[in-house]
Symmetry: C2
Subunit: 165 residues, 2 copies
């Protein structure tokens, strides 16, 4: 695919940038994001989820453990780092559940989904001010609890996991 004929940075933030790109004589506003990871983490027969306040959503959401890929970081390394920091699980067997654009009409973020099984306890290490509550759903209950989810990566990844079982 071609590149835009012109690019202007309209907002340069901490978490993302906004650029206005010129394509075929039209301006396209695009949010540029370094990409994210999320993990279907299985420990002791349960999927380990997190409940946290999401200010953009104005509510608490139940989600997979997830985080941003650091600049230059490999997605799998990022997912492993984030899983240990956020819920204190490490090791285990990992495989990809696919990589997906989260909202490709105006956002370049790619979400790398993983399944991690046979995890061991590590050291939880939350960022200052991070308010994360760990939620465990027995694997056999996941199917009937999907209605509690309001986060698209979490429902997609859990359905991909259930399909692959």
């Amino acid at each position: 695919m071609n590149e835009p004929t012109d690019t202007r940075v309209a907002y340069d933030g901490e978490q993302f940038r906004v650029v206005v790109e010129r394509w075929n004589g039209r301006d396209r506003e695009i949010v540029k994001h370094p990409g994210s990871t999320a993990v279907v983490a299985i420990h002791d027969g349960s999927v380990v989820l997190v409940r946290q306040t999401r200010e953009p959503a104005r509510r608490q959401l139940i989600e997979l453990p997830a985080g941003k890929v650091d600049d230059g970081e490999d997605a799998l390394d990022a997912a492993k780092r984030e899983l240990e920091e956020e819920v204190g699980l490490r090791g285990g067997r990992w495989r990809s559940l696919g990589t997906y654009f989260t909202s490709p009409g105006f956002l370049d973020e790619q979400m790398h989904l993983f399944l991690a099984e046979d995890l061991e306890r590590g050291e939880q290490d939350l960022d200052d001010g991070e308010d994360v509550q760990i939620v465990r759903w027995p694997v056999d209950d996941v199917e009937q609890r999907l209605d509690e989810l309001e986060d698209v990566k979490t429902v997609a990844a859990l359905l991909l996991f259930l399909r692959a079982r």
Copy 2:
């Protein structure tokens, strides 16, 4: 949930805005978006999808017919409008497949997913410059073609559809 103690508009665009909100003494950058709809549209035994160039993704993607909710518009009305404009299908029986945040760490966009069956032919009416190719997947082929998808709403909605069949 509370509201932020301060809000500053950092970028005011055509498709979305960026605000910096102050929560508990911390700044949060949030992309504000009016919300979107996407439809699992069944016609003549096939799911009707669209292939289009997505500049943010730097490639063509296969996606559900989808669009933005206009200011003050009902989500179901928006989905019906968009489905007829984009692929020329109307009428039929509609139901919700749920509403999901697409990337709730920094984006307030909610994606309203619908299933529409028994659709009839209407009038396709693409926006000027919209380059949309219609793709039909027989319903029985969807399961084995999921690997062709790189868009999270499309994979989530098709898995929800297959689960509900």
